[in-house]
């Protein structure tokens, strides 16, 4: 079944505290949609509103056209995977997976077949008669997934399902989840605060802060054209530099350095904030003449990390900038060197000075 989720003007309060003031999103059928945001921003709260565990103080939640605000949890046909897996400890693996099917009063052999199918799919068939306490974290995770999927839910909800696993297993399971989601073709909402995980796994990501969605888009859009400074700093690393835009000659000037910016749809001069990712600087030695077309600065720190080398440089204004270059055999730069920077100007983002709006429209 194909299910799109539509949320309009959702409102969530705990007592007097408004956690989610007014939130709207559309999640498409079969989409892998991720909620990403700092701790306490309301991701879990929103997810649990969709699942039916939290009350909804206002707004409309719909699966396709159907309003679900008042619907019982057990009627929503949702598959849910919890952070701590929530495996029933007194049931075997098989009984755990069968549980939802039994509640649906399906015939016995159908239950058996469906259960076997998903145990097989999740590669835990051999553990089917074990008690959960004798499973590893990754295996428990697979049981939780099988249990959530075997009921053929309309929607799959996952709240930080991988956060209890070690780094290596996390990478492995995230691929398992991704493949499974595409195979089964199920609309999925995934919560995480690991941005790399979000990028790797999602069709689209919603970045949240304080209960407000800051940006919805594909991982690429969000990384390259963040809608505001919060998103730019939350996803990946970036340098924020204050500058001024002059509309007449379409120039951006900062710290005794000026570069042309043709694409800015702005008609008047205004102060702006630039967001430049560390890998978008090019660093070169000062030319012998001392004249340059770049931003002049001095290296204050060099950290070698294998694949890349991180540089910290100081502008003449005193501001520190982070730069990442691919490592080379013999590093030409060392602490104390004066260097000049040039920019990959098409990758720069320019925000209003307060950082609330991206002036470049993608």
């Amino acid at each position: 079944m194909s299910v799109g989720i539509s949320i309009k003007n959702a409102l969530k309060k705990y007592g007097e505290n408004t956690i989610i003031p007014d939130l709207s999103i559309e999640i498409r059928d079969k989409e892998f949609f991720t909620l990403l945001g700092p701790s306490g921003c309301g991701k879990t709260t929103l997810l649990r509103m969709i699942a039916g565990f939290n009350t909804i103080e206002g707004g409309e939640f719909r699966f396709n056209e159907k309003l679900i605000n008042e619907m019982e949890v057990s009627k929503r046909n949702i598959g849910m995977v919890f952070q701590n897996y929530a495996i029933f400890p007194h049931y075997t693996v098989r009984q755990n997976v069968e549980f939802g099917l039994k509640n649906r009063k399906l015939p016995k052999d159908e239950i058996r077949m469906a259960t076997d199918e998903f145990l097989e799919l999740m590669q835990i068939l051999e553990y089917k008669d074990r008690m959960p306490e004798r499973l590893s974290g990754g295996q428990q995770q697979r049981v939780a997934l099988a249990r959530a999927l075997v009921i053929k839910p309309d929607v799959l909800l996952m709240d930080e399902p991988l956060s209890n696993l070690d780094a290596k297993l996390r990478m492995e399971m995230r691929q398992v989840i991704r493949d499974l989601q595409k195979d089964v073709g199920i609309t999925t909402i995934y919560v995480t605060h690991d941005q790399e995980e979000a990028m790797a796994i999602s069709d689209r990501i919603a970045v949240m802060k304080d209960g407000v969605i800051q940006h919805v888009g594909t991982p690429r859009e969000i990384y390259h054209r963040p809608s505001n400074v919060f998103v730019a700093t939350f996803i990946g690393r970036t340098n924020l530099i204050e500058a001024d835009y002059s509309a007449a000659d379409k120039l951006v000037s900062m710290d005794r350095f000026t570069f042309p910016m043709e694409r800015l749809p702005v008609d008047s001069d205004m102060p702006v904030t630039l967001s430049i990712r560390p890998e978008d600087f090019q660093m070169s030695a000062m030319s012998a003449s001392g004249k340059s077309g770049g931003l002049i600065c001095r290296i204050t720190d060099v950290v070698f990390l294998g694949l890349n080398t991180h540089y910290q440089v100081e502008l003449s204004s005193g501001q520190l900038i982070e730069i990442i270059h691919e490592s080379v055999m013999d590093s030409p730069f060392k602490i104390g060197d004066e260097v000049q920077l040039t920019l990959k100007s098409e990758k720069i983002n320019i925000f209003t000075r307060d950082g609330s709006r991206n002036l470049i429209h993608a």
């Binding site: 949890v73 929530a86 029933f88």
Partner: protein, 548 residues
């Protein structure tokens, strides 16, 4: 916006309804008895004036305080070091001693009192032996000191159990850190350990306080002229000369007010000083050496032998030959056959009445724990508070309260088994609810949510998922309740009629009548029942803490 009412709202309302009928209504009845003049129907404080005006009555209050404070302090002084020794050192025969400690606390105190009379009373075996052999006169076991000895030996195990539990949560690295910083031995015990276990100690102390304040059988048997509160309440109510309900009710009200104050003070003191501890590195018992080793063994064995002695002696006398009310040389099983023949009914009553109560208690406790943990709202909050109320009402007051309320229409229950069941359920529920709450708090909520999201109904999720996960905890709580209920006297002594006599009531009656043989036989049966229950408890709880 979402529907506010579900099956749990219904449960909450039913629970509140039950409490309204069986607790609130009787309590208001009690209050009105105490402040309304029976003849004129007007408001009066005459009963209270009478109580505080006459030293005869007022002194019983002072007496009770002497006993309770004395017992509480002594139990702490005896129980806390024992718990520390048991946690910190290896003791020869520790697990056996542990069972003895628990066993000695689980019997009815008045049986202990009775046994001490047989040992140290006017014609007690020890007294007589010393008098005949050496001409030494033992100090009297009757009166204040006797009550103090009996109740202390009976109740220090509570402190022992509470403190042992708390010490389990003290991380050994705290002790090591303290030693590393130059503080060890006794100093460390008082500076580090006592403050950490303080709140638990308070809680245990409160329980001892409540039990000793409410205990009726001990002062009745051994107090002689030294009358305490429950004795007075009982006498005024049951008095041969036609008891005075109003006056008994007034005394009951005073009792409730006192226990409430004590309870609130304890609560205030311990919430201010609670630490959350989670011990990764438990204190491991070490081998003691030299003098320490000798001292701790002497202390443990002496204390525990003293406390188990009355039980052992009673069991011994059960097998003695008895002629009428006098013991004669020789041994037989005659006491047991007499007991089964004459008062066998009390044995079956002791299975049936606490049995039925237990079923009700387990179900109600599971439901109430559930609504108070998982469905927090104003109504469940009220249910939670109300369910704790009986904790601070002394047992004999519960008895009187129920009798006054239910020996007249609209609800006529006096003389039935039902009223005894109600009494037991009311008194025992607070404990079982607490332990169920603790169990429930260990179970993550989203296990149940997982069940809901898999299409299970709320009730189904409770029965299939939450209940089984609570089961072990519920069952061990239930066994403890059971043990306490079969040795309960102070409520039963007020509520029983001939048909509904329980073992403890029968034992008490037989002691009063001087049928020592039958009394001892019945006590032995009770002890065996208790022992079996405790062994089952040990199996079920896999060595978990006992908490009352």
């Amino acid at each position: 916006m979402r529907k506010k009412y579900d099956i749990w709202s219904l449960v909450t309302l039913s629970v509140l309804g039950l409490y309204a009928i069986f607790l609130i209504y009787p309590l208001f009845n009690l209050l009105s008895q105490a402040v309304v003049d029976k003849d004129t129907g007007t408001f009066t404080l005459a009963y209270f004036v009478k109580f505080f005006g006459k030293p005869y009555y007022f002194n019983t209050l002072l007496n009770s305080f002497k006993v309770t404070f004395g017992v509480t302090i002594l139990t702490i002084l005896l129980g806390m070091p024992l718990a520390y020794i048991f946690t910190r050192f290896e003791i020869f025969g520790k697990s056996f001693l542990r069972i003895l400690i628990i066993l000695s606390s689980m019997s009815a105190p008045f049986i202990g009192a009775y046994s001490w009379i047989l040992l140290l009373g006017r014609s007690g075996v020890i007294t007589t032996f010393f008098k005949n052999a050496f001409g030494i006169h033992f100090p009297s076991i009757y009166g204040f000191s006797g009550i103090l000895v009996v109740l202390t030996l009976q109740l220090y195990p509570l402190i022992f159990l509470y403190v042992s539990g708390a010490l389990k949560n003290v991380d050994n690295s705290l002790l090591e850190a303290s030693e590393n910083l130059g503080c060890s031995g006794m100093k460390r015990f008082f500076i580090i350990i006592v403050p950490l276990i303080g709140p638990t100690l308070f809680a245990g102390g409160l329980l001892v306080f409540m039990r000793s304040l409410a205990d009726f059988g001990t002062p009745m048997l051994i107090g002689e002229g030294f009358r305490t509160f429950p004795v007075t309440i009982f006498n005024e109510f049951i008095s041969e000369l036609g008891g005075d309900d109003g006056f008994a009710a007034a005394i009951s009200i005073i009792a409730i007010i006192i226990t409430t104050i004590i309870f609130l003070v304890q609560k205030y003191l311990s919430t201010r000083k609670t630490f959350s501890m989670n011990s990764m590195n438990k204190i491991r018992p070490v081998k003691a050496r030299g003098l320490t080793k000798v001292l701790i063994h002497v202390y443990s064995y002496a204390l525990i032998s003293l406390s188990i002695m009355p039980q052992v002696y009673i069991i011994y006398t059960a097998f003695r030959k008895v002629n009428g009310t006098v013991m004669v040389p020789g041994y037989s099983l005659g006491n047991f056959s007499d007991a089964f023949e004459k008062v066998g009914r009390s044995i079956s009553n002791t299975i049936i009445i606490p049995g039925i109560s237990l079923i009700i208690i387990v179900i109600l406790a599971a439901l109430i724990a559930y609504i108070t943990v998982r469905r927090r709202n104003i109504l469940t909050g009220i249910a939670d508070t109300v369910s704790m109320v009986p904790f601070i009402i002394p047992g004999s007051v519960v008895g009187i309260t129920l009798l006054i309320a239910f020996d007249k229409p609209p609800i006529l229950l006096s003389g039935t088994m039902t009223i005894m069941v109600i009494g037991l359920v009311l008194r025992r529920l607070p404990f079982t609810i607490r332990s169920s709450v603790a169990v429930l708090q260990q179970i993550p909520m989203n296990v149940e949510e997982a069940a809901l999201s898999l299409g299970s109904s709320k009730l189904n999720a409770f029965y299939k998922i939450t209940m089984p996960m609570m089961a072990a905890g519920l069952i061990s709580g239930a066994i403890l309740s059971w043990v306490t209920m079969i040795s309960e006297l102070s409520t039963a002594i007020l509520l029983y009629v001939g048909r509904t006599k329980t073992l403890t009531v029968e034992i008490y009656t037989q002691i009063i009548r001087g049928n020592y043989g039958i009394a001892a036989a019945l006590s032995t049966i009770l002890a065996v029942l208790t022992l079996i229950s405790l062994l089952i408890f040990n199996k079920v709880s896999k060595g978990d803490d006992l908490s009352m």
